[in-house]
Subunit: 502 residues, 2 copies
């Protein structure tokens, strides 16, 4: 059997990001469009979409990426949405140091062991020579602060979040947004007085992540608990949301961990309870990263380039005036229409050095959800042409109705992208209860919801035998258990989601 | 003569951030308040304000700081204000790698030399062993991208900004917000087709910084050009805004550099002009950092704790119900008033475990601009008591007028803080044209606007002889030159701002 995971990983995109010799005019570059089809070579297609839509590019620093303005605007929209949600829950943003002393890191033994292989260290040391890690995650440094901030039950719950960069010294090939040595994320860290509250909010944050994916990014996800093998280093248990990409690989979109008293005991986070006794706090952590952008791009985009859900798109519509003959009237109308839509994020593309056709292709590449064409005949008929990016459908709209029509169209596109992705996911999720069905399912690039005995040894053997199929999660939504374990044949205890994955 | 700079730097605040043994109730800690007077020991007072208002704390990692939620909220408000301003100008946010290859860094020789002493390196290297710096600033890595992004005059102007962390391996003692090895900032990087445009926007960004300081932070500044000695490493010239702190030291609040073709030539940023010839771009860079928070805190705060300008304050008013006897009516009224003020950021402090007096002191420590007291007699009289944080003045306001009164009061406070700071600055700026006047001026903790020959050697000797008085800038607003150089006695060419500084 081939190794799709590794094969894809070692493949560098054929599209060169270094532009050829000297191209004084960009128009020629862009009209080339994506040179590979999504269905034929997904890794190459994906890299081209990200590069040509100018979302990100490779850095000369191996393993790092440059997030270009078009890509960073998506991250800003995700931040704005999520800050709004978490602040309503009582989470407050803060900022902790980039560097973590080795001794902090080692306080929670399984945490240190879990991250050890991928930690980057700096050459400068602490006084006394102690090494400093570049943060791969901040439990250690934040728990140290919590040990000072938490004294009484009145200080709880304590809900902190930070938006920052983290570094994990990956050795596999870089995939823009999906795998890089440095990436941007948010990491929430909370402390609670009771297990119940900590567990409830672990789940609450996972639900927030699912809402973000589904309502903002039009990305359906499956919520579940990680198996013991896949649990975050130092956690009691981990929960996650998983999406499923068109190339038959799952992609973890967010995780929320219940850390129990593990970190509280290692870092001495204690509080005086109402009962006048000292207790350890229960802590949680939860994170999403810029890889969400990669998932969204891969899910919705097509052979013409990027497709963006309207709610996260920095530009929701572009107006392209078709200037033939009577330029004055067309431009005047285009500006009027732009004025009618000023509550939306729109662009009037009145550059005169490009043809309308070139502009159509350019804005399609950039994923703008709606194109509004206005030509001389449209001015005469008092109408515009609206073209949706997701399906390419055209409609004629009376000028007076343009605002209402755009509102409706954007909402339709948002819903359509979600429905399309959901239908894809549903069609690629197969229940399996025996080994040969599992093999067929994986070969067909489906996810398998497999009956499983729950033993770690079985999970590990499945991964070895399939050269990379891993457990994604144990979905919270469990069908009734009927069969035997897909691998060992013993009585099944649970359904587990198995798939190749990013 | 004493060395105020060094003396202050080596002084660790007496207030211990590690809380004593076990204090199950935080109330006792806070009611202690600031134990030092601003006028008596500014460094200790400042550290206590920052720690006790919970803006930031020292990290166990020497030289790093933890920005707590109260402090980070100020940074978020600065970000929101400034993003709004720069996006209107056409600047777009992006994100570039944390790590910079040594070879990039060395491309602009004077840039590399200028930053060399304070660069932190990571232990992990590039393939081939090349060292990687943790960014102290990002000209090198961003100019490398610009060399790919800029091809034609149509790609210009290119205006990019990033909000990120930077690291400079300082050896002097940490001062929260003011001097730390890691800090947060924004760095703008722009490329233009012509020198004129680049210079015009260098100035435009400096003016934006001045507006931010003056209108948002109520911090008056002096705009000027840096002397050659103080110019940013690699720049043709640097401009800066300087504020003046109550302890008699200037504090640089922002810089905007015209880099000429220096970086364009080192990184090969060329474009095909309208004239069909190749040209080097003209680049600029500009930055402000979290030290702005330190400047604002030091300028406005007092012996009771933090004082915040209303426009940047995360909480603009706190309502404290005085619950004696008839709790129901008072709480009901307090909630009604909170509802009337819902467009503002207000807090209703209805915690029943603290007395009103404790709450007053607590919110004063946290710098909330207005306190609204509501007691049983106020309910009877259909009024509230409004107390402004900056002056302590009380006023009675009819319940129906509470919104208009608060709006007016917040605006008054904002203006008053600015006026107070401006009056302080004006009263501490002395024109000097001879050495003995300069000595007296500095001894009196004033800034000196000194007549100067313009020679670097004179500037350096002044610094040596005074043990630390440096040129802050050559203010754009220049009085007519009359006398001789304050140091060498030759004919003066220009007025230069001299001061001890942070």
């Amino acid at each position: 059997m081939a190794k799709p995971d590794k094969a894809a990983a070692s493949q560098q995109p054929k599209h060169q990001q270094k532009a050829p010799a000297k191209a004084p005019d960009k128009s020629k570059e862009n009209t080339l469009g994506i040179t590979t089809k999504k269905a034929e070579d997904m890794p190459e297609w994906y890299a081209q979409v990200v590069l040509k839509a100018e979302l990100a590019e490779y850095s000369q620093v191996k393993g790092c990426m440059i997030i270009r303005p078009n890509g960073y605007a998506l991250w800003e929209n995700i931040q704005a949405y999520f800050n709004n949600r978490i602040k309503a829950i009582g989470v407050r943003n803060a900022y902790f140091p980039l560097f973590i002393p080795e001794s902090f890191f080692k306080k929670e033994a399984s945490h240190a062991a879990g991250f050890k292989p991928e930690v980057a260290w700096i050459a400068n040391t602490m006084d006394g020579g102690e090494r400093l890690a570049v943060r791969p995650t901040s439990e250690a440094v934040i728990c140290d602060s919590f040990s000072r901030w938490v004294r009484s039950h009145r200080d709880l719950p304590l809900r902190i979040n930070q938006w920052c960069n983290v570094v994990r010294w990956e050795t596999e090939a870089t995939k823009l947004f999906l795998r890089s040595r440095e990436f941007l994320w948010q990491e929430g860290h909370c402390a609670y007085a009771t297990r119940e509250e900590a567990e409830r909010e672990t789940m609450l944050m996972l639900e927030e992540y699912a809402k973000l994916c589904e309502s903002l990014l039009a990305l359906p996800v499956i919520m579940g608990k990680k198996t013991e093998k896949e649990t975050f280093a130092g956690a009691v248990y981990s929960t996650a949301i998983e999406s499923f990409m068109p190339d038959g690989k799952a992609l973890q979109c967010g995780t929320s961990h219940y850390l129990g008293e593990n970190f509280a005991k290692s870092f001495n986070i204690k509080f005086m309870g109402k009962d006048e006794e000292e207790h350890f706090a229960h802590t949680t952590s939860w994170g999403i990263s810029t890889r969400l952008i990669g998932a969204m791009v891969m899910m919705h985009s097509d052979d013409k380039g990027l497709v963006l859900p309207p709610r996260v798109a920095p530009t929701q519509a572009v107006i392209v005036p078709i200037v033939l003959g009577d330029a004055v009237k067309v431009l005047e109308r285009a500006r009027n229409v732009a004025g009618m839509l000023k509550e939306r994020d729109i662009v009037l593309d009145d550059r005169d050095e490009y043809t309308p056709g070139w502009k159509y292709a350019d804005w399609e590449m950039r994923g703008v959800p709606v194109r509004i064409e206005i030509g001389p005949r449209d001015v005469e008929k008092d109408q515009v042409v609206m073209v949706r990016r997701d399906t390419g459908e055209k409609q004629f709209v009376k000028t007076a109705d343009v605002k209402a029509a755009l509102d409706k169209l954007l909402e339709d596109i948002q819903q359509n992208l979600y429905k399309r992705a959901k239908a894809f996911m549903d069609a690629h999720l197969t229940n399996v209860t025996d080994w040969s069905n599992l093999m067929t399912t994986i070969a067909n690039k489906h996810m398998a919801l497999a009956s499983w005995c729950g033993e770690r040894s079985c999970e590990e053997e499945i991964k070895t035998k399939t050269e990379g199929v891993s457990s994604r999660c144990i979905p919270f939504d469990q069908p009734k258990i009927t069969g035997n374990c897909v691998h060992c044949g013993k009585k099944a205890k649970v359904w587990v989601l198995l798939s190749r994955a990013y």
